[in-house]
């Protein structure tokens, strides 16, 4: 009888309950003009700054990174005739500061590219963000969810967007106490330990939510990110700096659509993806697609920490040794030791006599190989 269950279950699994039959797909080579202008612009009313990043789209099959659009002229204009010019650099980032932003005015971007084309965004409203009420984690079965709560009693916010920088502390499997310098083995100086690192990443996915269907303008425990049990992020200590912005209805629709067509696909009942264009248009050619969005308003932020001891016992996990092994290099063999790939851990002794050194590969003894730096961030506590 037991095998019957298993058999029946297999059939169920085959059908739809698991998406077990998903494999990478390389699309046919597509030849078409793709160097559309991409504008990622934001005016920050909290500090009076504006940042715009200009780049170009590239073919899907391309392995290059998208080229920045440099030497363009960009103005932030308000609806009363004032304008501020932004300063560009060679990476396609254009910035301006000290802009007198007024919540009652409307703003737009005017862009002139080096090929003398002119682009204009729609006028946008600046949106004030209410403070973040709460940022915490909720334990789940096999992961934790970092959740955010906020509200706006005036009911004017409704559409929220978040982004974050996450930082976590971790260590290499082995602690390297010695250092090999030009054929000599020295005790590692305090300031060059490579055992403990901090790594910071920024959010990549679109995190939006709206309270438009609720009686109150309230976001309650909305999951920002899930961290699975056993992630390196939770071995020692994790920190998140969450930024919250309020979007206009149009901006929210744009991000939601972009999310639907570029992140949430792969189900049985996917909507047909389509073109998603934002609020920037070519002045001369209405049919030219311009990608990206320009928005503005205030930014609220909040930081919080999760230490290993904060986790419930069933979610606590520790770094495992994995494939890491320590080997020994005898004193006589020291000239053959390759310091480019390994780090020395400690001395190997036979009784009281040092006969050589133990070592391990860099990935096991140098935490920097895993993307972090040994510099403790200023905010770390």
């Amino acid at each position: 009888m037991k095998s019957l269950y298993r058999y029946s279950l297999l059939i169920l699994l085959y059908t739809a309950f698991l998406t077990g039959c998903v494999e990478p797909y390389a699309p046919p080579a597509i030849e078409s003009t793709t160097n559309y202008l991409v504008v990622d612009g934001f005016v920050n009313s909290t500090d009076g700054t504006a940042t715009v990043k200009l780049s170009r789209a590239i073919p899907l099959s391309s392995t290059d990174s998208p080229p920045p659009e440099v030497n363009a002229t960009i103005f932030v204009e308000d609806d009363k005739g004032n304008r501020t010019t932004l300063q560009g650099d060679q990476t396609g980032n254009y910035t301006g500061s000290g802009i007198p932003l007024d919540m009652s005015s409307k703003y737009r971007l005017r862009i002139r590219t080096v090929d003398t084309k002119e682009y204009l965004s729609d006028y946008i409203e600046l949106k004030e963000s209410p403070p973040i009420d709460d940022l915490k984690f909720i334990p789940r079965d096999n992961s934790i969810s970092v959740v955010v709560s906020t509200h706006d009693d005036t009911g004017n916010s409704r559409y929220y967007q978040w982004s974050y920088d996450e930082t976590w502390e971790y260590t290499a499997v082995y602690m390297s106490g010695l250092i090999y310098v030009d054929g000599e083995v020295l005790t590692r100086p305090d300031d060059s330990y490579i055992h403990r690192c901090w790594r910071t990443l920024s959010s990549k996915h679109i995190i939006i939510n709206s309270s438009e269907k609720l009686q109150e303008d309230l976001i309650s425990e909305f999951p920002v990110v899930n961290i699975s049990k056993g992630s390196q992020k939770l071995f020692i200590k994790y920190s998140m700096m969450l930024r919250q912005r309020v979007l206009t209805r149009e901006a929210y629709d744009y991000w939601e659509e972009l999310q639907k067509t570029t992140e949430n696909l792969g189900g049985l009942f996917d909507p047909q993806p389509g073109k998603v264009t934002g609020n920037i248009h070519s002045v001369s050619d209405a049919a030219e697609p311009v990608l990206g969005y320009f928005s503005g308003g205030s930014v609220q932020q909040k930081r919080f920490f999760i230490s290993l001891r904060d986790l419930p016992d069933n979610l606590k996990a520790y770094q495992s040794v994995g494939n890491c092994v320590q080997d020994t290099v005898l004193l006589a063999d020291l000239p053959d030791y390759s310091p480019d790939f390994n780090e020395l851990i400690g001395t190997a002794t036979a009784g009281p006599v040092t006969i050589g050194y133990t070592y391990a590969s860099k990935s096991c003894a140098d935490c920097r190989t895993q993307g972090g730096t040994t510099t403790k961030p200023e905010f770390w506590q």
């Binding site: 085959y14 269907k213 049985l268």
Partner: protein
């Protein structure tokens, strides 16, 4: 001897009357359209005679007579002369007999009605089979006299009646009833009814039907009359696999672009999940496509999935799918047959553009209680049927359910912990024969689905309908059917990811329909059908409510939509010469969208969007928008030779209700929308031409059909349209023009050890959406392939019978991949790569190929045993080919990744056990 008997009785009577003193033997009466019963009553009142007669025989007699003090015998002479009845007088008793009762052989009806009593003692090995054979022989050798005997054999007369299964009493649909000289034939309709107009005189009327034994009746036709025939099931259903009666119908029949599938044919085909599924079988026919494997959305000749009228015993079915479409909602045990009309659609059908899928259930067994069922890895099903009043009233009950929930409960893996899937469907029907001329059919159906896929969102939907039909035969040339149906489809989505946001969203559609149809056969050359129908629609397009006490969701209720669609039609089939037949029909439909409802007005000249709403018009309960139009239907058939024909048809269809879906496959949350002041009704015209040829004595059928279709006001969507809970759907929906054309070739071997068909279809279907502004235009207003445009399709279906008990089947299906919108560019936004999509449907997913096999093993064929059983072993997707269901691209950790998703990517074996008692 036969002729002399009455005379002998008469003499006896004369002698007796002289010998006994009697009150009287004379009566005085006036009969005007009186029944025979009334005559009997009068006789018994005024004389001492007691009459013995069978009222079932005499109820068709009507008497118009004035007699004054006349001998009863002479009265009876007057009444009964010219009929098949005779009377015999013995003392004070008069026996009314039918002529054949005094045949030396016992009549067929005698056995049929009273089998148990008359069964001879089995003193020797006289099996059931031999008995039946003997009965059949008797019936075939007997000469049936239709109408009062007369010497005048000039002109024509019509015989009509019902063909029934002798075992279950069920009407046999689609049986061929014909005479060979001259070649005149008809096939039985959905009530098993036929009508045949023949020259008066002697004929051999032959009856053929799939899976039934051929039989014939010798008929002496004097005048219009009735001939009911019971035919026997062929005990081994494997003997005749494919519709034999339809063999020459394909060439000689009027209908083109029509496929009729019998449940027995369907049961032979390899199964995907251990169930015979009519929708999957229909998909193997030329001209029928689907967008996603495992879905029940049919695209017939380039039509959208919502352009198919799916009728279940005449009631509309809105969602024929279970479990995301992996099953269809039709329980195979209660089905009788399915007809799919792709072109040349008769005027009686209307309301959808592309096709009509007419599903009929069986009638319950009129003779004895019986049941059948099956168990497959996912579902169990059972049906029970039998007489309520023997030979008059029968019932049929069917139930089917999954036990997947039960399995899921026992498997606590993480992925499945919060999953949940179950469905069931119920069918019930009662048919009642009031008398030979009146039948009533009541049918009900309900299906329900519930599922939750590893998430906090649960879906459930249910489709139910009921129909009541009354068929009345006025005379052998005219019958009518009154039908009332009710359909209701609803779904609900509940989400409780967080108590504050928990909600429930409901959608419901209700439909009432009443119609009257008549069929008139004035003579051998003409058949006239006419009728009228009224359909009322009532939609609740969205009701969004808080779910649970903590929920803070604001209720959001979309306004109800009401509409009424009325239609009248008339159609005539005219056989101009034996070679040339013409069908001409006209349907006129009239639709009104009713209030009360608020309608937005938009600023002219700018894209229709929320920001261009100028004001709101409040309509009362009167009409908001009215559309109407003629729908001509026309077909011609010309016989090139006895085995080849050429056909042509044109039809126009109008559709006033559409399903809105911007997912490629039918999704559980698709909504229906009535035509209103912004969304105009869809109008489709189709021209088709076909050539049909039968080879090798009708063993091989070849057909070639071509069509061209134009569709006005097809629904199309803006990129990123949102359809759920949208108060102004008109801002997201675009009216498109569509065109579709194609050629379908089919080669079919209907009989023999090896049978099956191979078909090739070339078809294109394109849409053009050219709005007033750029945002209302798709792909710069050029024609682009619709999501279900799959130019090449090849289907092979083969059956090989090793023996009567062992049957092997194989399917091979090939089609071009469906069009998709692929990304053409990528760009960096906020540190993450995003994709930019091409023109809509500019690319295609890889081609689709699948092979299935199945082996059917029947239990032994002993006629008398408790239950017949069979085993089916099937493998779906034998080679485990990973056919693409979809191709998609997502941004993951800032990078773009492309994926191909396949469902059913591995061979799926199933075992099904079926039983029947």
């Amino acid at each position: 001897m036969i002729k002399k008997l009455p005379l002998l009785f008469f003499l006896l009577l004369v002698m007796a009357s002289s010998g006994f003193s009697q009150r009287t033997t004379r009566i005085t009466a006036q009969f005007s359209a009186a029944t025979f019963e009334q005559v009997v009553h009068k006789i018994e009142e005024q004389t001492d005679f007691r009459l013995s007669y069978n009222s079932a025989w005499t109820d068709s007699l009507t008497v118009d007579l004035n007699v004054s003090n006349e001998e009863v015998t002479s009265v009876l002479d007057k009444i009964l002369s010219g009929t098949e009845f005779h009377y015999n007088v013995y003392q004070n008793n008069i026996y009314i007999t039918r002529e054949r009762q005094i045949l030396t052989e016992l009549p067929i009806d005698f056995f049929g009605q009273d089998e148990t009593k008359t069964k001879p003692a089995p003193s020797f090995d006289y099996t059931d089979f031999e008995q039946r054979e003997k009965k059949k022989k008797l019936a075939e050798e007997k000469l049936y006299t239709i109408g009062p005997r007369t010497d005048n054999l000039q002109g024509k007369a019509t015989i009509a009646g019902t063909i029934r299964d002798s075992k279950s009493g069920e009407p046999v649909i689609g049986a061929s009833v014909y005479v060979e000289n001259p070649m005149i034939g008809a096939s039985t309709d959905q009530f098993g009814h036929y009508s045949l107009t023949l020259p008066k005189g002697q004929h051999i009327v032959k009856v053929k039907s799939i899976g039934m034994k051929n039989t014939h009746r010798q008929v002496m036709l004097y005048a219009n009359g009735r001939l009911d025939v019971e035919i026997e099931e062929d005990i081994t259903p494997l003997k005749e696999v494919v519709v034999e009666s339809d063999r020459d119908a394909r060439v000689t029949g009027m209908q083109m672009g029509m496929e009729k599938l019998d449940i027995k044919t369907m049961k032979q085909m390899p199964l995907a999940l251990g169930e015979t599924d009519i929708m999957k079988v229909v998909l193997t026919l030329p001209g029928v496509q689907t967008v996603g494997e495992g879905t029940v959305g049919l695209n017939v000749r380039g039509g959208a999935t919502n352009q198919n009228l799916i009728l279940y015993n005449d009631a509309t079915v809105y969602n024929p799918s279970h479990l995301f479409g992996f099953f269809s909602t039709f329980n195979p045990d209660v089905l009788k047959n399915v007809e799919l009309y792709k072109s040349g659609i008769n005027a009686e059908y209307g309301g959808r553009l592309s096709s009509v899928l007419d599903v009929h259930t069986r009638e319950g067994n009129l003779k004895k209680l019986s049941g059948s069922g099956g168990i497959s890895p996912i579902t169990g099903r059972f049906s029970l049927e039998g007489p309520i009043i023997k030979d008059k009233t029968s019932f049929l009950l069917g139930v089917r359910s999954t036990y997947s929930d039960w399995i899921l409960d026992r498997v606590k893996t993480d992925e499945l912990k919060s999953s949940d899937a179950s469905f069931y469907d119920l069918n019930a029907s009662i048919s009642h024969k009031i008398d030979d001329d009146n039948n009533i059919y009541l049918s009900g159906y309900m299906s329900k689905d519930k599922f939750k896929l590893n998430s906090d969102t649960a879906y459930n939907y249910s489709d139910r309908n009921a129909s009541l039909k009354w068929k009345h035969v006025f005379n052998s040339k005219l019958y009518g059917v009154l039908t009332g149906t009710y359909s209701r489809y609803e779904y609900a989505v509940t989400s409780n990811s967080s108590p504050i946001n928990a909600f429930e969203m409901d959608f419901a559609i209700k439909q009432w329909n009443a119609k009257a149809d008549i069929n008139y056969f004035p003579n051998a050359k003409h058949t006239i059908t006419a009728g009228a129908s009224v359909t009322r629609y009532d939609l609740s397009p969205g009701n969004y409510q808080p779910y649970g006490a903590e929920s803070m969701v604001i209720p959001d209720v979309l306004q109800d939509e009401q509409g009424q669609e009325s239609a009248v039609y008339v159609g005539e089939n005219f056989d101009i010469t034996p070679a040339l037949s013409v069908y001409a029909g006209l349907r006129y439909s009239y639709y009104q969208n009713y209030g009360p409802r608020e309608v937005y007005r938009y600023a002219p000249g700018v894209p229709r969007q929320e920001s261009s709403i100028q004001d709101t018009v409040q309509y009362g309960s009167g009409p908001i928008a009215t559309y109407h139009g003629a729908e001509p239907r026309f077909s011609v058939r010309y016989l090139l030779s006895e085995s080849a024909s050429l056909k042509f048809s044109y039809n126009r269809m109008r559709q006033y209700i559409q399903m809105l879906s911007n997912t490629t496959v039918i999704a559980p949350t698709d909504i229906w929308k009535l035509s209103d002041s912004y969304i105009r009704p869809q109008v489709g015209d189709q021209l088709s031409v076909g050539f049909y040829k039968n080879l090798r004595g009708n063993m091989i059928e070849v057909s070639l059909e071509g069509y061209y279709k134009k569709i006005k006001n097809a629904t199309d969507f803006k990129d990123g349209a949102s359809l759920l809970l949208n108060h102004h759907l008109e801002t997201d929906i675009l009216n498109a023009d569509g065109k579709a054309y194609g050629v379908e070739f089919m080669l079919k071997k209907a009989t023999g050890k090896l049978n099956g068909w191979i078909s090739y279809t070339y078809s294109r279907t394109m849409l053009k959406t050219l709005g007033a502004t750029a945002s209302e235009t798709i792909n710069s207003g050029k024609y682009y392939p619709s999501s279900y445009d799959k130019p090449h399709a090849v289907n092979f279906i083969g059956n090989y019978k090793f023996s009567r008990r062992f049957n092997f089947s194989m399917n091979i299906v090939y089609s071009t991949g469906r069009p998709i919108t692929l990304p053409i560019a990528k760009y960096d936004l906020g540190g993450s790569m995003r994709v930019y999509y091409s023109d809509r449907n500019a690319f295609r997913i890889p081609d689709y190929i699948r092979t299935d096999i199945s082996i059917n093993i029947e239990g032994n064929h002993k006629v008398r045993k408790l239950a017949h059983s069979s085993w089916t072993f099937a493998v779906y997707n034998l080679w485990g080919r990973e056919n693409a269901y979809s191709v998609y691209f997502t941004s993951e950790n800032g990078r773009i990744r492309g994926y191909k998703m396949s469902i059913f990517a591995r061979p799926i074996p199933t075992i099904t056990y079926n039983f029947k008692f």
